[in-house]
């Protein structure tokens, strides 16, 4: 992952230190036309934008209901246009991606100010997702890995600099923050849509609720709601049967030729994250004998996703002496990857120690 790539969806680079010059210039005119919609991708893979387009013909309804003012993935939009807007002029903003650079943090704060409703869209914005696993290492290690590994042609060992004096003036690159954060660790968030990426049917259900509220034909969900997902666990949606609840060893998916299609995968020894994961996906993965990896995030009421999962696993392991227990647990060689694959940045501890202690820069 390059520290500079992808954080603005490939649109023009913004000067992160630039102040919204015309902050008070524009009068707070009531928007005359359609309500405005902004969609912004911070540190993400772009999959959330694809998922939004993947609502198929409903995208026409979105375009009919909203005036899209910013969506770097599909259209040209200038940050300066957003800066020139009155506060609260944008009706709804969807932010996907996590907070990795000072540029994304600036944009998140700017969009928060300009938006009536700010929606945390997808796993990266909500809980850090895969980019959040970078919180296990220091900024220096991340940049060394990105710029000097066997797959990188960089004989001079060049590294990005955040400020560069060119003949024409000082150039700025968005600065890599020491720790990746979730959107709600940076700004106030009204709604959260979980998923990596959110299922398209769920996206439309959530957008439809907002569109209806704007049309005055439906209530707006209460602030803080999780939209486009269930309030139970993936196990609840999973058709597999649970009865034994005893695990003597964990297996990896490639070690077993064929899993029983009827029985719970966890009971067959496959580490499945269903017990802690929010429902809403339709339990698609376990239906095809792939374990749940937890992309819909923590189930309702769960404070720390990994803690809930550790609790669930420990309850079903059949071993009572430290030696036997360790033998079973050796089947989970990477506990953080297993328990916090999507949620490390949003967890109670947020990061590994080296992320904030040994920043060698």
């Amino acid at each position: 992952m390059s520290p500079t790539a992808r954080n603005n969806g490939g649109s023009e680079p913004a000067a992160p230190s630039a102040k919204p010059a015309s902050k008070h210039a524009a009068p707070a005119a009531k928007p005359a036309g359609k309500p405005k919609l902004a969609i912004f991708g911070a540190a993400s893979c772009g999959g959330c934008d694809i998922a939004i387009v993947n609502i198929h013909e409903h995208i026409v309804e979105v375009a009919a209901a909203f005036e899209i003012v910013l969506w770097p993935t599909i259209m040209d939009g200038k940050y300066s246009d957003i800066e020139a807007m009155a506060d609260g002029e944008i009706a709804v903003t969807l932010v996907s991606g996590s907070m990795r650079t000072d540029e994304t943090i600036h944009l998140a704060r700017l969009l928060r100010r300009k938006s009536q409703l700010l929606v945390s869209f997808g796993s990266c914005a909500g809980e850090g997702c895969i980019p959040g696993l970078a919180n296990l290492t220091s900024r220096k290690e991340i940049i060394d890995t990105a710029f000097s590994t066997s797959s990188t042609d960089n004989p001079e060992g060049l590294r990005p600099v955040w400020e560069f004096q060119a003949p024409e003036g000082v150039l700025h690159l968005p600065e890599f923050e020491p720790v990746l954060r979730t959107l709600d660790q940076v700004v106030d968030v009204d709604y959260t849509i979980p998923g990596c990426p959110p299922e398209s049917g769920q996206i439309w259900a959530a957008l439809e609720a907002v569109v209806k509220a704007l049309n005055g034909t439906g209530p707006l969900p209460p602030k803080g709601s999780v939209l486009g997902a269930g309030d139970s666990t993936v196990c609840d949606e999973c058709a597999r049967k649970r009865d034994v609840k005893r695990i003597r060893q964990f297996v990896r998916v490639q070690q077993v030729a064929r899993f029983d299609p009827e029985i719970c995968l966890l009971e067959q020894g496959l580490p499945c994250n269903g017990p802690a994961t929010r429902s809403g996906c339709g339990a698609l993965c376990p239906a095809v004998s792939a374990p749940c990896i937890g992309c819909y995030g923590a189930a309702e009421g769960v404070i720390d996703y990994g803690a809930r999962l550790m609790s669930a696993y420990a309850s079903v392991i059949e071993a009572n002496t430290p030696e036997e227990i360790d033998k079973v647990l050796d089947g989970i060689p990477d506990p953080v990857g297993q328990f916090y694959r999507f949620s490390l940045a949003g967890s109670l501890l947020r990061s590994g120690r080296s992320a904030w202690q040994n920043d060698g820069e």
Partner: protein, 195 residues
Amino acid sequence: MSTQAPVAPVPVEGAATATTFEPVIIGFTCNWCSYRAADLAGTARTKYPPNVRLIRLMCSGRLDPTFVLKAFAEGADAVMVSGCHPGECHYIEQNYKALRRFRLLQRTIEALGIEPERLQLVWASAAEGVRLAGEIARVTEEVRALGPLDWPAGDIVDVDGVNLDAAWEATGGDESGPPEVPGGANPDHAVEALQ
């Protein structure tokens, strides 16, 4: 608190100077065994270091790993889990669950860079007040040797030690803050403002 007479610190071996690091240890105890052991230690005037803050659970099996992680995230230097000896659980076998959670948690916190010694499991029956006091003293000294954990509360601190979040807030937060429109970010009011 300030009106009370200063309490002389319990003498602890190795705690020689005033600058000695005093770790904060959260101790989760079981209602039926280890909490009563701590009670017994108190009744018998058995001394143990005041570094441990005991919290009573009905059973060590009630220990949600969330409690441990929250303790670390909010400033504890170590967590001590204590329950009935294996085979003596008041709820038949829940202390085995505690043991399994403990081993799993130790592996996870180690992968996050927290020394596994910062999470300790101690079995103590209701009759073992002296033993529990000794274990608390042992854990305290082990953690004292490890030093403070000082897990950051969540603000971004730059390599130069500058708290970036505090610095941003000191500027008046002119990029964000709630929108200065009627209703602000309150969805109920947002609808009225838009209609």
